[in-house]
Amino acid sequence: MFERLKDRVNGNPALLRRGKTCSTRFLLEMGEESYLVDIREGRIEAVTKGPFNMTSWTFALRAPRDAWTEFFKPIPRPGYQDILGLAKRKLLRIEGNLHPFMAHLLYFKEALASLRPEARA
């Protein structure tokens, strides 16, 4: 699922513009699976699947597989439509240095939502 971030984001000029000042590496966890996402000026340079040995990242978004599965539905059920909604339900943990995440919050939300099957570009 997360591997598709590269095509979805890099093929979306509006998202690239929104993330233009964002360069970071963050960790995504879906249950036991982990992914590192490298972003340079809004462009997804790489999505690398773990496991990792002593790697560094700026911030991490971790949620169980069920939570992401519901989040990625075209119309998720109430409370699962948004990563802060998942956080409020204690299903998603947001950890690390949150500055790049909060400074580009709409970019990250839109990037993850772009993985929905019927996501509007």
């Binding site: 119309i75 998720p76 948004d82 339900r89 909060m102 400074a103 709409l106």
Partner: protein
């Protein structure tokens, strides 16, 4: 060619609030029963523009909304540059009553969303005789912050961008794109620290959990409408209000989130118009 004006008219009102002169932006449309609308935290009256442009509402209602001080086109008071803006229950309630008095509104219907949906509970409890009916949108007795509010006002994060980012997920996923993004634009335009200052009321000072059961709906009918996708003022929190307040009429709105009047006006009107019809028909007051 005649200019294609909307029926909404806006004016500036000079008014004293908390002993200080203020300049408030007020807009209205329609005629009949006054319907005073209160916007959400960090936004402004534009949230109600669809209602003000809908003849099904304005036929029987004079819809009025004002930008709170610091919001929209209402200025902060003189000296603001040396203050931290923080909305308190006392100031919020007094502001609403002062605007009603200044406009000469006689027993209006009041409708508020989010922080407005909270303050109407204070109005229902402490000033029920001043209103014909009270409508709460996204009402809860209390809200726990689910992120660190400090992110909303700091020099190294754009306040408008982060405010829109924070609230974007509160819009239902089914909302029309143009309405979703207009709702977010209002947040992007908020002044530095204003959204955060409003949330002082929302998360702290406006907590009414210990008093809410004392609301007497025989003195003023109370309607509570909450969108199912609102994870800030949740359906559960509104249903809990319905259990605590005898006579309150609660409706959970399907396919709507935290900003029903602006994120998906047509869907919202499907829920609001029957309530307005009932109030207009006197059904609610007869029930009282």
């Amino acid at each position: 060619m005649k200019p294609n004006f909307e029926p909404i008219v806006g004016r500036y009102l000079s008014i004293e609030l908390a002993g200080r002169p203020h300049r408030l932006y007020v807009e209205e449309a329609g005629q009949g029963t006054p319907l005073l609308c209160l916007h959400t935290a960090g936004s402004d009256t534009r949230q109600y523009r669809a209602l003000m442009n809908d003849a099904r509402v304005t036929r029987d209602y004079r819809v009025i909304a004002f930008d709170m001080p610091w919001h929209g086109k209402s200025s902060p008071p003189v000296g603001w540059q040396d203050e931290e803006y923080r909305l308190t229950t006392e100031a919020y309630v007094a502001m609403i009553l002062a605007v009603m008095a200044a406009l000469g509104l006689d027993k209006p219907v009041v409708m508020g969303c989010s922080i407005g949906g909270r303050v109407i509970l204070h109005l229902a409890l402490d000033h029920p005789e001043k209103f014909r009916a009270i409508i709460g949108l996204e009402s809860a007795a209390h809200a726990e912050p689910y992120y660190d509010l400090a992110w909303l006002h700091r020099g190294d994060v754009h306040g408008g961008e982060v405010a829109a980012g924070v609230v974007s997920g509160l819009v239902a996923p089914t909302a029309p794109q143009e309405s979703r993004w207009e709702t977010l634009w209002h947040y992007m335009q908020s002044g530095p620290g204003v959204f955060k200052g409003d949330l002082y009321f929302y998360t702290k000072d406006g907590d009414i959990r210990d008093r809410v059961a004392n609301i007497d709906t025989r003195r003023c009918p109370l309607f509570l409408l909450t969108g199912e996708y609102d994870y800030s003022c949740t359906a559960e929190a509104t249903l809990e209000l319905g259990r605590l307040i005898k006579g309150a009429e609660v409706k959970i709105m399907e396919g709507l989130g935290h900003f029903p009047m602006s994120e998906d006006p047509e869907k919202f009107l499907g829920y609001l118009l029957p309530v307005l019809d009932r109030i207009q028909g006197g059904l609610a007051s007869r029930a009282a």
